[in-house]
Symmetry: C2
DNA sequence: TTTATAAGGTAACTATTGTTACAAAGTAAA
DNA sequence: TTTACTTTGTAACAATAGTTACCTTATAAA
């Protein structure tokens, strides 16, 4: 809790940090846990204290797409708008590593917006960040070839999780990139031949040369 | 001005409409005019009264990508965050048809957020809409083949502009889709053979069968 | 330990998209 | 009208990505 206070006080005003302590609920998740799922009512917004959350979305045909990762001090803009407009969740949030969050109840979100300037900045800044990440993804998908997209994916993943090991099967990576397994195996093998990664079963290590 | 009042009063509270009239600046643009350009200071946020605005963004390599169209009563979430954080424009806004806007000065944006609940809802709703459109674009680029993307593009364009004629060369369409001219000509020819469009020089007509 | 299942490697082939090149037709300027 | 330029059509080919099939190897279950 002291650690929480310290982290938040870097960006938010003291009285607000106090309020967050009072009305927020601390929650912990282990890797793979589902923090938010599709069609559930969202009654609080998660603020990430430690670890990484992976945020996904499903389209009309049921295909899932990776929106972004959330790390320390970040919050989910999509969850925020869902809360504000009392809509059901259009997203799924999964713990990509062990995760600690503090859940802010939806009544407070709105109240603090008018009460604390630093909360307003924080929320808008959060929107801008998500926006920019989505735009980068869009550019990546629109202009980059699959090998470059795979490299970008691996870099993002290792950066978000803070470790060089990616514990996913080729199939899982293929799903996140919207392609198929054989293609991913092929490209990963090429990266291994270029000494940019080392492949194991259900796991790969990203080397600094990537 | 009476028309403006009527349009806005559908979604915003009376006192706010009065304030918008007082502090907003009405501006008109003709087709092709640049309303906002990259790297300019944004000192006001446009609220669209009539017509359609096309919002673009440039990536690191200078490639432009279409973000979304703005029509009646809509506003630009990207311009809003730029204003709020006093950043330079990362976007370009072009009049896709003749356009009337009312420009809201940046001091007011923030002030109204705490003063008028309907403004807060409006702004957050606007963010959500832009978010969803970006997500649809992302899904489209990630999963759809080029022929489907072209159809989606033509449908969006005609819907936004409210007319069935698209006045663009094949080259311009290719640029917006991030592909090349020959490919677009090829696909458009196929659509013409299927009686879904009629092609002219610098122009095409979308048929209801599309 | 044997068996079943999941993951990964690879070849051969298909489909889609991108590229180059050039011709034909429309449009604007001289 | 002649000339220059832009736009569109099309063929032929190259590059990239997706698919099917089958094999090997690792892991978990019986």
């Amino acid at each position: 809790m002291e650690q929480l206070k310290h982290k938040l006080s870097m960006i938010l005003e003291p009285n607000l940090v106090k309020e967050i302590e009072q009305s927020g609920t601390m929650m912990s998740f282990k890797e793979g846990d589902i923090i938010l799922d599709y069609d559930k009512n969202i009654r609080s917004m998660p603020l990430v204290l430690s670890g990484t959350i992976r945020v996904m979305r499903k389209d009309e045909e049921g295909r899932e797409i990776l929106l972004y990762y959330l790390s320390s001090n970040e919050s989910c803009a999509m969850a925020y708008t869902c809360c504000m407009e009392a809509r059901k969740s259009e997203i799924k949030a999964i713990a990509d590593t062990p995760v600690d969050i503090i859940a802010i109840p939806h009544e407070k979100l709105d109240e603090w917006l008018t009460k604390y300037p630093s909360w307003k900045s924080y929320i808008f800044h959060s929107f801008t960040s998500r926006f920019n990440e989505l735009l980068k993804s869009l550019e990546s998908v629109a202009f980059q070839k699959l090998d470059e997209r795979l490299i970008r994916y691996l870099k993002n993943k290792t950066k978000a999780n803070g470790k060089m090991v990616v514990s996913l099967s080729h199939q899982q990576i293929a799903d996140e990139l919207g392609t198929n397994r054989v293609v991913v195996s092929r490209l990963l093998k090429m990266l291994e031949n270029e000494n940019k990664v080392i492949l194991y079963r259900n796991e790969l290590k990203v080397l600094s040369s990537l």
